[in-house]
Symmetry: C2
Subunit: 494 residues, 2 copies
C-alpha cells in the first residue's frame, strides 16, 4: 500500500486535453481485462478499495471537513456508508444473479413453428463510463461513491469527474482508490480522476465512453444528457437531477398525531441543512387542523453554513424568489442571521394558490426551506399530486383507515419511491431501494442510483447462439461453474 500524502486544498488544474486523451485510452484498454475478471475477482477489488478508504479515514475526514463545512460525525457516517456500499456490490457480484443468465437449450419442437437453436444470454459491461460527482455527498456520491462502485462492479472502467466543491478531497480519495486498485491487481486504467467542466463534457462526447452517470442540478444534468443523446453514437446518461419530494398528511393522521408529524417534518427538511435530494420540499396539511399553528411555533434550527459558497448563494437566491412570491408567506424561521446563509425557513400557502402557480411553488430549493400547503378537502389530494412533475420520492402520513389508495396510485406514477408514515431523507442502501423517478427527478426513470439494482445501468445483454462450451462465458456454461441463479428453458433455477 502506497503512503497517502495529505493533499493541500489548492484547487487542482483542470485536466488537459493531452492528459484526458491518455486517461480515455487507458480506460478503453482496461475495459476488456476488467470485463474478463470473474465477478468474485471484481468483488475483491471493491473490498480492497473499501479497506483502503477506511485506513485513510484520518486523512480523508479532515480534508472533507475543510472543504464541505459538514461536521465530522456526519462525514464519518457517510464514509461508512461508502465502504458499506462497495462491499454490498461485492456481495452482488458473488451472488451473480445480477448477470440475468439465461439458457435456452435447442428444441426442435419449439412451438413458434421453427426449431429453437441453443441460445444463451448474459449481461456484459458496457465499457468505460464517465461519472460526475455530486457536491452534497463528498464520499457516498463522489469519487468512490455509489455510481463508481456500481460501474466498477459491472466491470466498466470509470472516469470520475470531480466536483469543484471539494477538489482536495476528490484528489486524495482518488489517490486512495487508484493505489488500492493497483495493489489489488486491477488493470491499469480501471479508474481515473478528471477535473474541470470542459474535461467532463469532452469525456462524455468521446466515442470510447459508453455511458454517463450524474448527480446534481436539473440544468447541469440536462445539458450533459443532451450531449450524451446527441452524439453520433448516443449513449445512456443516468442523471439524478432534482426533486421536490412532496409529503401529504391526511385528516386522520393530522388529528391523531399532528404534532409528531410536524416535528418529524422539521427534522427531515432541515437534516443536513436541507442539502439532500430527498428533502421533503412541500407538506400538505388539512386547513382545519392545528398543524399550521404547531409549525408556526416550531423551533427551527439556527442558520448553518451550507456546503460551499456556490450552494449558499444558490439557496439564498431561490429562497428570495420564493419569499417575494405573493402566494407565499413566511410561516416560521430559525434563529441566527437571515442572510448568508438564510436561516431555515418554512413558507405557507393554500392548495388554491399552489394550483395557480405550481411550477414556481414546487421549485426545488436546495437548503433548509420548505413550503406548507393547506388543503380543505382530502379527496382533492390525488388531484394536487397530479400537478407534480417526476419525483424521487413522495410521502404520505396517514392511518390504516384512510382512503388513500387513489393518492398512492398517483404518487407511484410520479415518483420512484413512495414512503408511508416515515420521511424520505436517509436513503438506505439495500437490495430493494429505488432512488430514481420520472424526469426531471432523473433522465432515466427505469434505473436507480442507490441500491444493488444500480449495477444494471452499466450492463448490456449479449446472446451466444450455438456455441461450444469452451468458447462461452463461464456464466452460461452448462455446468454452471459460477453457481449462478439462472433461467433455464424459461424456469428459474436458484
Amino acid at each position: 500500500m502506497t503512503a497517502i500524502t495529505p493533499t493541500t486544498t489548492v484547487v487542482p488544474e483542470p485536466t488537459t486535453d493531452v492528459e484526458l486523451e491518455k486517461l480515455l485510452e487507458a480506460a478503453q484498454t482496461a475495459a476488456a481485462p476488467l470485463a474478463a475478471l470473474r465477478p468474485a475477482e471484481r468483488a475483491a477489488l471493491l473490498d480492497a478499495v473499501a479497506v483502503a478508504l477506511e485506513r485513510a479515514a484520518d486523512h480523508l475526514i479532515p480534508t472533507a471537513e475543510k472543504e464541505t463545512r459538514l461536521p465530522e460525525a456526519r462525514l464519518r457516517a457517510e464514509l461508512k456508508r461508502t465502504t458499506f456500499q462497495l462491499r454490498l456490490f461485492g456481495e452482488v457480484l458473488r451472488d451473480g444473479g445480477y448477470l440475468d443468465a439465461r439458457i435456452d437449450h435447442a428444441d426442435v419442437n419449439w412451438p413458434m413453428g421453427a426449431p429453437r437453436p441453443d441460445i444463451r444470454r448474459v449481461l456484459v459491461p458496457v465499457g468505460p463510463v464517465v461519472v460526475f460527482a455530486a457536491s452534497n455527498f463528498p464520499f457516498a456520491f463522489s469519487v468512490a461513491g455509489g455510481d463508481t462502485a456500481s460501474a466498477l462492479a459491472a466491470g466498466s472502467p470509470v472516469l470520475l469527474k470531480a466536483h469543484s466543491g471539494h477538489p482536495a478531497l476528490s484528489r486524495l480519495t482518488a489517490e486512495v482508490v487508484v493505489a488500492a486498485l493497483r495493489d489489488a491487481g486491477a488493470p491499469a486504467g480501471t479508474f481515473a480522476l478528471i477535473t474541470g467542466t470542459a474535461s467532463g463534457a469532452a469525456a462524455l462526447r468521446d466515442p470510447r465512453v459508453k455511458a454517463g452517470a450524474f448527480t446534481g442540478s436539473i440544468p447541469g444534468g440536462r445539458a450533459l444528457f443532451d450531449i450524451a443523446s446527441s452524439r453520433p453514437e448516443p449513449i445512456p446518461f443516468f442523471g439524478e437531477l432534482g426533486s421536490n419530494n412532496p409529503a401529504f398528511v391526511t385528516d386522520a393522521a393530522a388529528a391523531e398525531r399532528g404534532a409528531e408529524i410536524a416535528a418529524g417534518f422539521v427534522h427531515s427538511f432541515t437534516l443536513g441543512a436541507g442539502q439532500f435530494c430527498t428533502k421533503p420540499g412541500m407538506l400538505f396539511v388539512p386547513a382545519g387542523s392545528d398543524m399550521v399553528d404547531v409549525l408556526r411555533s416550531a423551533a427551527l434550527p439556527s442558520a448553518a453554513p451550507l456546503l460551499n459558497d456556490r450552494i449558499q448563494s444558490g439557496y439564498t437566491e431561490v429562497l428570495r424568489s420564493l419569499q417575494s412570491n405573493p402566494r407565499l408567506e413566511v410561516l416560521a424561521q430559525g434563529t441566527g442571521p437571515l442572510a448568508n446563509p438564510p436561516a431555515p425557513t418554512l413558507l405557507l400557502t393554500t392548495a388554491e394558490d399552489m394550483l395557480a402557480d405550481p411550477h414556481a411553488l414546487q421549485t426545488e430549493c436546495f437548503g433548509p426551506t420548505a413550503v406548507v400547503v393547506t388543503y380543505d378537502d382530502e379527496t382533492a389530494l390525488p388531484g394536487l399530486a397530479e400537478t407534480f412533475a417526476g419525483q424521487l420520492t413522495a410521502t404520505i402520513h396517514g392511518t390504516n383507515s384512510c382512503h388513500v389508495a387513489p393518492l398512492v396510485t398517483v404518487l407511484a406514477r410520479k415518483a420512484g419511491r413512495v414512503v408511508w408514515n416515515q420521511w424520505p431523507t436517509g436513503v438506505s442502501v439495500t437490495y430493494a431501494q429505488q432512488h430514481g423517478g420520472p424526469y426531471p427527478a432523473t433522465t432515466a426513470a427505469g434505473s436507480t442510483s442507490v441500491g444493488t439494482a444500480a449495477i444494471e445501468r452499466f450492463l448490456r445483454p449479449v446472446a451466444y447462439q450455438g456455441f461450444p462450451q469452451h468458447l462461452l462465458p463461464e456464466a452460461i456454461r452448462e455446468e454452471n461453474p459460477l453457481q449462478l441463479p439462472r433461467l433455464i428453458d424459461g424456469r428459474l433455477q436458484a
Copy 2:
C-alpha cells in the same frame, strides 16, 4: 366477436390532429386500469388477441399477400410466430419473474450504519407507448407484433403507427386487435392504430406518451430518437435500426466444409429476398481457400419482387452505389432481370480494400446482396471485426480447434448476438434471445426487441417504504398472493 369486414387496399387517410388527441387521451385514461390488472388478467387479453388473429387468418393472409408481395407460406408462418409470441408473453406474465419483486424487511442492525426500513420494490408499466411498425414483418413486427405484445404485457397502452407499406393489412389487423381486446374486457384505449408520419411524430412528442419503439432504417430511427430525447421530458426510444451482420469463416472451417458454408451463406443472405435486419451482409473468407470459386459458381436465386416499390427502389440505389465502388466487383448474380429489382448479387473485395473504405463497404443493403471479403491472415480477423459499428448479430464459422477467442471477444462487444456455425437469419422468439446491439444496430443497447426480455423496456421500478400490507401492490405483499419468484432480504426465492 365483431364480424371482420375485409378492408380494401385504399390507402387510409392520415390520422387527423383531432383524432390523435382523442386516441392519446383514451390511451392515458386506459393506463391506470390496464396497469391495475393482475398479470394473469393481462395474459388473458394477449391470448384473446392471439385467438382472434388465428380466426381472422383467412382475411389477413390474402390482404398481406396483396400488399407485401410475400408468399402465402411465409405469411402463414409469420402469423404463427405472431400469435406464439403473444402467448409467450402471457406465460411471462403468469410466471411473474419479470416484475423483479424485491422485499427488504426492516433491519435495525443493517451494517450501513443506520437501521434499514421496510422497502419493497416492483416494476410498474411506464404508461402509453408509441410503436412504429416495420415494413418487412407485416405481422411479427407490425400491428400485433413483438413491440405491441411486450408493451401490452407490461401494462402500457399502445398507439401503433402503421407502416405505409401495408396500410390495408394494418387497418384490418388493428380492427381484429381492438375488437378482441374490447370483447375480452380490456380498458377502452388500450390499443389504437394511427397513420401518417406526422401523426407518429406528434404522438412521440406528446407528454402523455412515455416511451417509443421502432423497427426500421437508421435515418428514420435516428430522427425519432432525436424527437424522444429532445422533449421537455425526454423518454426512452427503443429503435432497432440497421445492421450489416458480418460473418467470419476461419481457415480450418473453410478447409473442412467450405462448400457447405458457402451454400448456407447463399441461403441466408437471399432468404426472404434479403429483407431481414439479420441478413449476413459481409462474409470474410480465407484468400487461399476455394470458397471464392465456390461462391462464384453458386446458383443464386432469380430476382424476386421486394416488399414494395419504395424498398425496391432503395435496394436498387444502394446496390448501384456498391457496384460503382471501384473496390468491389461482382462475384455472382442470380438469373432474371437485372433491374427492378436487381437479381441477387454477391460482390467481392479484399480485406485491404475493405479497410480502406469500411463505411461505404459495410453499408446495409436491404435486399439480396452481400459482400465477400478475402483475408490473408486469420490473426487479422479481430482487427477486421473492430472496424464495424454496433451490430445486431455477428457470426463465426469455425472448428473446435480454432483460436477464435479474441474474435469472439471483439464480436461480443460489437453485437447483441454472436452466432457459431449457424446463420443469423430466423430470429427465434425465446427466453434468452437478444435482438439488439450497440448503436446504430439500436438506440438502446441495453434492451432487446425479440424474446421475453423485451417486456423490460416498458417498465420502471417503484419502491414502497414502510407501507401497510393492504396498500401494497399484490406482487410485494408478504404472503405472496401472486406466487412470484422474489428477492427477499437479498436472497432469491423461486
